[in-house]
């Protein structure tokens, strides 16, 4: 929305009359069919999730016997019982706060540590830089499972086993390779003159980092924050292994609600939407934020 307006503003100012007008016309013409195509894609894309939403309002027996679309012609099937059951559970409420306690620090700490490292890899020329960067990025490959046993031992010795800080550190560590990779790539695109200018003004590397690089890197940082937050919010495996009963996040708490032999679509569907609410809000909020950041960038 705001982007398109900015686009057009820049377009009209920067170009001559003839080419600008024609291009604008072309763009307006092609946007009609584009809108239709995107709308169709959007609806199809949403359909599976919509199915889950409908399922969350149906009983276990109904979900097992018929498809969710039957509720459209037979609304009597719909019930909020599933939501009531889950939300009444006090363990779930506690676990919600645990999830926040785990996800927010994980994301913030990750971004900070990764940005520091990425800046070093992008703009500080030191010996062995490329080799170390290569190794760090190679660690992207390491699957989570590989660390479960050795880190359990390590945590046991350090007294971190079963604690929230232990879970946080684990998530940060495994998010680092991708984060460093992503941020370094964005930071490299920052014009050298800006950094030189700051250095010329007598700023030390830290100041350069905080005053110049971080602000300019906001789009990438915002993306990273969103992904890490969501990844950690939805994590089940690490939580199951490293979080003790008191530290249990939402995913594990919902899992406890599952029946051993059950279709469980009603519980999983309901749990999914309860769980999804926060990441979506985060995405929505940050989406606007980094669009603003871009605006600031292009109006430079």
């Amino acid at each position: 929305m705001a982007t398109t307006a900015a686009d057009e503003a820049v377009a009209t100012t920067a170009s001559g009359s003839g080419g600008g007008f024609a291009s604008r016309m072309v763009r307006r013409l092609t946007s009609g069919p584009v809108a239709v195509v995107l709308a169709v894609i959007g609806v199809l894309w949403l359909l599976p999730t919509f199915g889950l939403l409908m399922s969350s309002f149906r009983s276990a027996a109904d979900n097992n016997q018929s498809g969710w679309w039957t509720a459209i012609t037979d609304p009597a099937q719909l019930t909020i019982a599933n939501y009531q059951t889950l939300l009444d559970n006090e363990g779930l409420v506690r676990s919600f706060f645990n999830t926040v306690l785990i996800s927010v620090p994980s994301s913030l700490i990750l971004v900070l540590i990764a940005a520091l490292a990425a800046f070093a890899f992008a703009w500080i020329d030191f010996k062995g830089r490329d080799v170390i960067f290569l190794v760090v990025v190679a660690l992207l490959v390491v699957p989570l499972q590989i660390s479960l046993i050795p880190v359990s031992r390590l945590y046991g010795q350090l007294g971190l086993f079963g604690t929230i800080p232990g879970v946080i550190l684990y998530h940060v560590a495994f998010g680092l390779p991708f984060a460093i990779f992503l941020l370094r790539n964005f930071f490299i695109g920052i014009p050298a003159e800006l950094l030189e200018a700051a250095r010329m003004d007598g700023a030390g590397e830290m100041k350069v980092f905080f005053r110049v690089v971080l602000p300019l890197g906001i789009p990438a940082i915002a993306s990273l924050l969103i992904f890490q937050f969501m990844w950690v919010w939805n994590d089940l495996l690490v939580a199951l292994v490293f979080a003790g009963p008191a530290a249990q996040p939402l995913t594990a708490a919902i899992r406890e609600q599952l029946r051993t032999f059950g279709g469980n679509v009603d519980i999983i569907a309901t749990g999914s939407f309860i769980q999804m609410a926060v990441p979506l809000i985060v995405f929505f909020a940050f989406q606007r934020y980094f669009v603003q950041g871009l605006l600031a960038g292009s109006q430079r």
């Binding site: 276990a60 479960l148 359990s152 079963g162 199951l240 029946r259 032999f261 469980n264």
Partner: protein, 442 residues
């Protein structure tokens, strides 16, 4: 690791010695001939953690907590329960490595018990608990919880896996009496087919249901001794008894007898197979699995156990005696603590079993349990069949075998029986099973 293990043994021995002294001093069930009573031990101030697969959703979480609360009331200890979900190995493994295991855990497979014992993660049971177990349970149960002669656990909760469930309305309308023999079963299936309902539903998607089918058929075709031999791979899977069992299975696993046909069956998970049999109108007349089917009917369908749903014992084959395939959860000790040992001892008593048994969804092999505590006829019959089968009660074969053969999706007995449903090739399946078993057993 070795040092830790040795230390554990020393401490365990010291603990056993201490408890034995205390037991002798208090004169608690010292002659071992009468059923030892619930522990008289005072554990005030001690707290222990117990882990198991049971979760909130089935109501089982509440029931195990009731049992643990009863223990807490008796002894003054405080007990907390942690639900690990089905992947108990994945959760306990790292905890053992991390040096933070629960005090007591309920393990669902003998193989897991053996694995943990091999890792020195289990504490052998003390004399009191051992005495209680030996007094209250048939020797099969101590054997199944022992490794190299050392007893590590008690089989607290069991499932009778030889219950053949049927939709009473469907069978009634079709004029089929619930079958007690194999011939009746086959004839009944033909009649159900004529009636217009798929004779039975099977979970062919996961594989474990198919292995349970095979085990029940084989136990009846070959008897308990050969069952044990096959379990331990002392006879090959190409043995004539296996061939006969597979042929029997083929009689009922034909596409036109299965709900959803062959393809649909191979995509159908266990809860779905139950739903098919108890939907309205029914999509299948019968479904075989263990006594836990009753619980699934209650939560996943609108049918009522006892009215719309009932079970018969798995049909006998050629006059075989009552035989039962069983699975269960064994309580083991993972940390030495006085309270932990006392809890295990308590779990071996009839009293502990009755706390859960009276609420349903639970079967015990404890001979001291009064079967009148079971809340309904269905549960009582299932429990009586289990206890009554005596030596013909055999633990689920695939749980006793190496996991890569007995309990892994897409391979071993699970995968090969799925292929068997698809192809009906008896000889080929037997040979493939023998190959897989040879590789797994080494």
């Amino acid at each position: 690791m070795l040092m830790q293990g040795t230390m554990r043994w020393i401490r365990a021995f010291a603990l056993v010695a201490t408890l034995a002294l205390i037991a002798a001093a208090c004169g608690n069930g010292d002659d071992g001939t009468d059923t030892p009573e619930a522990p008289d031990v005072d554990l005030t101030g001690q707290s222990i953690e117990v882990a198991g697969v049971w979760a909130e959703g089935t109501g089982e979480l509440q029931r195990i907590n009731d049992v643990l609360d009863a223990f807490a009331d008796l002894t003054g200890a405080s007990v907390s329960f942690t639900s690990t979900g089905d992947d108990i190995a994945a959760v306990l493994g790292p905890r053992v490595e991390g040096g933070d295991p629960p005090d007591v855990a309920f393990l669902p497979q003998p193989g897991l018990l053996r694995d943990f014992a091999a890792q020195d993660a289990l504490i052998p049971l003390d004399e009191t608990a051992t005495a209680t177990i030996e007094a209250n349970f048939a020797s099969t149960w101590s054997d199944l919880a022992s490794v190299d002669g050392t007893l590590y656990g008690v089989w607290f909760k069991l499932s009778n896996k030889s219950t053949f469930w049927y939709n009473s309305n469907a069978l009634g309308d079709a004029g089929v009496t619930p079958p007690t023999t194999w011939d009746e079963l086959v004839a009944g299936m033909a009649t159900l087919s004529d009636f217009g309902v798929a004779p039975h539903a099977v979970d062919g998607a996961s594989g474990w249901v198919l292995s349970d089918w095979f085990e029940n058929v084989y136990l009846r075709v070959a008897g308990p001794e050969m069952y044990d031999q096959l379990t331990n791979h002392e006879i090959p899977w190409t043995d004539p008894t296996v061939i006969t069992a597979l042929e029997r299975m083929a009689e009922v696993m034909q596409g036109d007898l299965l709900a959803g046909g062959t393809d649909g069956t191979l995509q159908s998970e266990f809860p779905n197979s139950v739903t098919l049999a108890f939907a309205d109108p029914p999509q299948a007349g019968m479904v075989y699995e263990g006594d836990f089917v009753g619980g699934v009917i209650g939560t996943e369908t609108d049918a009522v156990v006892g009215e719309d749903a009932d079970f018969v014992d798995f049909p006998s084959i050629d006059g075989s005696p009552t035989s039962v395939v069983v699975s269960g959860d064994a309580a083991v000790l993972m940390r030495d603590s006085e309270a932990g040992q006392a809890l295990i001892n308590y779990l071996a008593t009839a009293e502990a079993a009755e706390v859960w048994a009276s609420q349903g969804g639970f079967t015990s092999a404890n001979t001291g349990v009064d079967t009148s505590v079971y809340p309904d006829d269905i549960t009582r019959r299932s429990a009586e069949a289990l206890v009554g089968a005596g030596d013909a009660a055999k633990f689920d074969m695939s749980d006793l075998q190496p996991a890569e053969f007995g309990s892994t999706a897409g391979q071993g007995i699970w995968g090969l029986l799925q292929e068997f449903v698809r192809t009906g090739d008896v000889q080929g399946t037997a040979e493939a099973l023998e190959d897989a078993a040879s590789r797994a057993f080494g």
